[in-house]
Each structure stands twice: as C-alpha cells, then as structure tokens.
C-alpha cells in the first residue's frame, strides 16, 4: 500500500482508539462512583431512616428530619420560583423578544444559572440572615429560589420560542389579545416543556448543599418551624460524612443514595416528558 495511505490509516486508528479508551476510562470512573453509592447506600438503608430523626453518635436513628426539611425548603423554593421564572421566560419569548431589556435579562440569567451556588448562599446570608438576626428555613428556601428562577426562565423561554408563529397568528386573527394568545395558546402548547424545566429545577436544588450551609444551617432535632434552623439532607450528609463516627458514615451514604435516586428519577421523568413533546411536534 502507498505509504501515505498507510500513515493516514495508522493515524486514524490511533486517534479513534484513543477516543474509545477515553470513553472506557471516563465511564469507568462514573460506574465506580455509582457502584460504591449503591453498595454503601443499600447496605445501610432500613426503615428507621424514614421514621427517626438524626441520632447522636452511637445511637440508632434515621434521617427523617433532614428528609422533611429538604422537602419543605424545596417545595417553598419551587412554589416561589416557578411563577416568577415562567413569567420572565414569557417576557423573553413573547412580549420583549427583541428588546434591549430582554437582551440584558437573558445575559444576566445565564450568568445566574451557572453562578457558584456558595456565592448565592453568601448573598442570602447578607440579605436575610443578617437582617433577621438568625439562621432560618426561610433563608434556605430563599437561597434555593434564587437557583430555581434561572433554570425555569431558561427552559420556559427555549420552549416558547419553539412554538410556531402560525399558532399565535391564528389566535390573534380571531381577535385574541396577546395575553389571551399566550395563556390560551402558547403556554398550553409548551406545557410539557415548561413542566420539564420545573422538574429539572427541582432535581438541581435537591442536591444543593453550599447555599444551605449558612442560610438554613442544620438542626439535629425534628423541626417544622420555618423561623428556626432546619436540617436538610445534603447538609446533614456533609456533617455526618466528615464526622469520625462509623454509624454516621453509614447514614451519610444512605442519604446520598436517596438524593441520587430522587435526582435521577426526576431527570428521567423530565426526559420522557421532553421527548414526548418533541415527537408530537415533528
């Protein structure tokens, strides 16, 4: 064979081989992490996790207060963040698509979307914790809201932009105002996509630790008082994993498994919803 061809073929095989190795190597790490998580998590999982609060070292206990705390703060953040996020996304996609305000908001929103979450924690600390004078579940929920809004804004805008203009024009031709068109036509057409965005936002905040460390702090005991510090799964995992006690380590792994399962489940539901709308449209 012509030596140039042979050389080109060798190069081709070498680099493609490297990309296969990279895939095996990269996926190998991730498989190891999931493997350890499943093994350690399931070996410590029992009913007490869901029925008892976090124990002092050496005693039996569970993660009930942390699970409930996470659920409360996540729900508050989603309840507050979703309507705002959808309205902002609507402004960006409908009323103000080409305005200067929309351009700036889009840019700022994308920055907030990937801003370090610990900085958001500092922001809420300065804004709420300092002014209230103490750590509280409200502050934790506010920090999570700041994370929810950009995610919902981005997905809502992306979904609304996909709606064909002929739909809007058809509704407008019947005499509907823009508010009518948006609420009765485009929101409905994009509903599954918007719900996908909300689910992704929930998945994102259910594992967030850094913004809760010094807003909601943590609480060793059962508490549903929104004005008091509240435990949350990620923060409890953080403290327990860094402690020197073996039984706390086991609880930390079980908690980590719970969070991962919740996040994976939410992402899978979001993905199924998202792909079903796409196939409807095409």
């Amino acid at each position: 064979m012509n030596p140039i061809y042979a050389k080109r073929r060798r190069r081709n095989n070498m680099f493609l081989g490297l990309s296969v190795i990279a895939t095996l190597f990269g996926l190998g790490w991730l498989a190891m992490i999931l493997g350890t998580l499943l093994y350690e998590g399931f070996s410590g999982l029992d009913l007490a996790i869901f029925t008892q609060s976090t124990p002092p070292p050496g005693l039996q206990g569970g993660l009930l207060n942390a699970i409930v705390g996470s659920l409360i703060m996540t729900s508050l953040a989603v309840l507050a963040g979703t309507p705002i996020g959808i309205l902002v996304g609507t402004y960006l996609a409908e009323y103000g698509r080409y305005t200067r305000l929309a351009f700036v908001v889009r840019f700022v929103n994308d920055i907030l979307l990937s801003a370090p979450s610990i900085v958001i924690g500092l922001f809420i600390y300065e804004l709420i914790v300092v002014n209230m004078g103490h750590f509280s579940a409200w502050a934790g929920a506010a920090a999570l809201t700041v994370i929810v809004i950009p995610v919902v804004v981005r997905t809502t805008e992306n979904m609304l932009v996909l709606i064909p203009n002929s739909l809007r024009e058809a509704a407008a031709a019947l005499g509907a105002t823009r508010a009518h068109v948006i609420r009765q036509v485009t929101w409905r057409a994009a509903r599954a996509g918007i719900i996908t965005g909300v689910l992704l936002a929930i998945a994102r905040i259910s594992g967030e630790t850094a913004p809760l460390l010094f807003t909601s702090l943590s609480n060793q005991f059962w508490s549903a008082d929104l004005n008091a510090p509240m435990a949350s799964l990620p923060v409890v995992i953080f403290h327990m994993a860094l402690s020197p006690y073996d039984d706390w380590h086991r609880l930390a792994w079980s908690g980590a498994l719970l969070i991962t399962m919740a996040v994976l489940l939410l992402s899978i539901i979001a993905r199924v919803l998202g792909s079903s709308t796409q196939s409807e449209r095409s």
Binding site: T23, E94, Y125, I149, R178, A241, T260
Partner: protein, 329 residues
C-alpha cells in the same frame, strides 16, 4: 363583507367595554411579565451589592494586598486570599487538563464511532450523570478515592520522580491522600459528563453535507473530525469548556471534602491546600470577629468576579456559534 369593512371606520358594532377590558388585561399581563424580568436584574444587582457591602470592612482593612497575602490567621485577624485563590486556580486548571481531552474523546466516540444501538443509552447515561449533585462526588472522593490514592498512586509517583528536578518538588510527599491533586481529580470526574454532553450537542450541529463531502474526497474519520468537525465547532467547544471551567471554579462540595483545608501555597500537588469555596464552606458558620466574616465574603466576591468573567466569555463564544448556525440554516 360590506358590514365588516364599514365597521373598521365607523364606531364598532360590538361590545366596546369588553374589548377595553381585554386590552387592559393585556397591558397588566405585559407589565407583570416585565416586572418579573426586572426582578431577575434586581436579583443580580442586589447579589453584587450585598457581596460588595459585606466585604467592605475587609477591603478597608487590607486593601488590594488582600489578593497576594498568604497569611490566614483568624486569631490575629490577619487575612490574605493568596492561598485560596491559588488553590482554586490550580485545581480547576488541572481538572480542565484532565477532563477536556477525555470529554472531547467521549463526544467523538458518541458522534462518530459508537454503534447506533449504544448511542442513545450512553448519551442518556452521560446526561444523567451530569445532573448528579456534587456532594455525591465529594463523599466518594473522601471515602474511596483519597485512600486509594494515598496507598497506591501517590507513593508510586513520589518514588518515581524522586531525584528528577522540578518534577520532584511537584510530586513531593508525604502522601496524605487528600490535597490539591485529589481535589483536581474529583473535579475532573465531575465536569467530565458536563463537557461531554455539551461537546456532543455541538458536534451534532455540523451539517452532514460538510462531513459527507470530506468523506467523499477520501478523508479518514479522524481527518474529517480534525479538519471539518473541530474547526466548524471551535467556538462551541471552547464555550462549553469555559462553562465547565466556571463550574469547576465555583464548585464547593466536591472539593471541600478532599482539599485538606491548609492555608499555604506549596509547590507539591500532593500537599493539602484550600480553595475559595472550600474556605467559605468550612469556616463561615464558625467565623467570629469584625473582619473574619467580611474577609470570607470578600473571598466570595473574588470568586464571583472570576466566574463572571469566565461565564461571560463562554456566553460570547456560544452566542457566536448560534449566530453562525442560525445563518446557515
């Protein structure tokens, strides 16, 4: 027809009050969405303001020398950001060096080589992994990776490079397990799915006619990737890598577990260090005194400014790719 045509000029023959109401509702809804959009701006501005105000006392006390002072002494209230800034930059850059080639390699595998049956499952797996919270990577690094590194890889490196100039000090012992290198490795594993997912999406924007034309001229797969796919997607790949860098710089939980929390700059990659986010996460709730909290907030402000610049550059690169993709279609 005549009736409708005349109604456009003469006063309308239908319910004007109702129309006016609908218009008012439209105005209100428009204003509402605009106020919410303004709220996002307000959130951003107050974030910056609160960080600046919170950091103000520290800024007044240390000035710009805060940036290059290596001391961190809470007892004497002597603070300098050099060690955390160094740790943040070194761990993130090391992580990028490890993760970017591998992430691009996986994306190449997924778009060009992978059998069609496996393409979707692996792609979905990568995307799901990109969503796993960082604390999971953190505790895995702390309980699994650090002991392995301590017992096998680190002693091997230290022994291997002993006596080699420069490299000797880069891989100097003792092998703690935790430290800069471990943190960088965990970061690399964490941003890997993220880089892969973005790069793959970007690779898929290459029009197949371009690739087919190159194949038609007899190019090998690698030549198509190197001379067609990569040049076409350059700004997208760079933008994606910078988004990943933004994530690595600000990552807290994956790093805090394994960094070792030591306020010193050591040439050895195996020595413990600290990063901005780890310093804040570890010390913020225990900080007392007039300058401790402001110093930590100033660290946060520095982190925010750095990530802002990186993310803004990333936005710019991705925007350019979008413009071009839009122009072609």
């Amino acid at each position: 027809m005549a009736v409708i045509a005349s109604s456009a000029h003469s006063p309308p023959a239908f319910n004007t009050a109702r129309i006016r109401r609908a218009h008012r509702a439209d105005h209100i809804f428009h204003a509402l969405t605009r106020v919410c959009a303004g709220f996002v701006l307000l959130m951003f501005v107050s974030l910056v303001l609160s960080l600046v105000l919170g950091a103000w006392p520290a800024f007044g006390a240390y000035g710009f020398s805060f940036l290059w002072t290596e001391v961190w002494n809470p007892v004497r209230e002597d603070f300098g950001a050099a060690a955390p800034i160094y740790g943040t930059l070194v761990t993130s850059i090391l992580a990028m060096i490890m993760a970017v080639p591998i992430g691009i390699g996986i994306a190449i595998f997924l778009t060009e080589l992978c059998p069609r049956v496996l393409r979707r499952p692996i792609g979905i797996a990568v995307e799901l992994l990109a969503g796993i919270p960082s604390i999971i990577y953190g505790i895995w690094g702390y309980f699994v990776l650090a002991p392995i590194l301590q017992q096998t890889i680190q002693p091997a490196f230290i022994g291997f490079f002993e006596g080699v100039p420069i490299l000797e000090s880069l891989f100097a012992g003792p092998p703690y397990g935790i430290g800069i290198f471990t943190a960088a490795l965990i970061l690399a594993i964490m941003i890997l799915p993220f880089i892969t997912a973005i790069t793959r999406d970007v690779f898929e924007t290459v029009p197949s006619v371009l690739k087919e034309a190159a194949y038609g001229m007899g190019a090998t797969t690698w030549e198509v990737i190197w001379s067609v796919v990569l040049p076409y997607t350059r700004s997208g790949v760079v933008g994606g890598a910078m988004l990943a860098l933004g994530r690595a710089l600000g990552e807290t939980m994956a790093v805090t577990f394994v960094i070792g929390n030591a306020y010193s700059i050591s040439p050895s990659l195996f020595s413990p260090g600290t990063t901005i986010s780890a310093a804040i996460a570890n010390e913020f709730t225990e900080a007392i005194g007039d300058l401790y909290v402001p110093a930590l907030i100033e660290l946060g402000l520095i982190l925010f400014v750095v990530t802002f610049l990186v993310l803004a550059a990333a936005q710019f690169m991705l925007y350019r790719l979008e413009l071009r993709a839009g122009g072609r279609s």
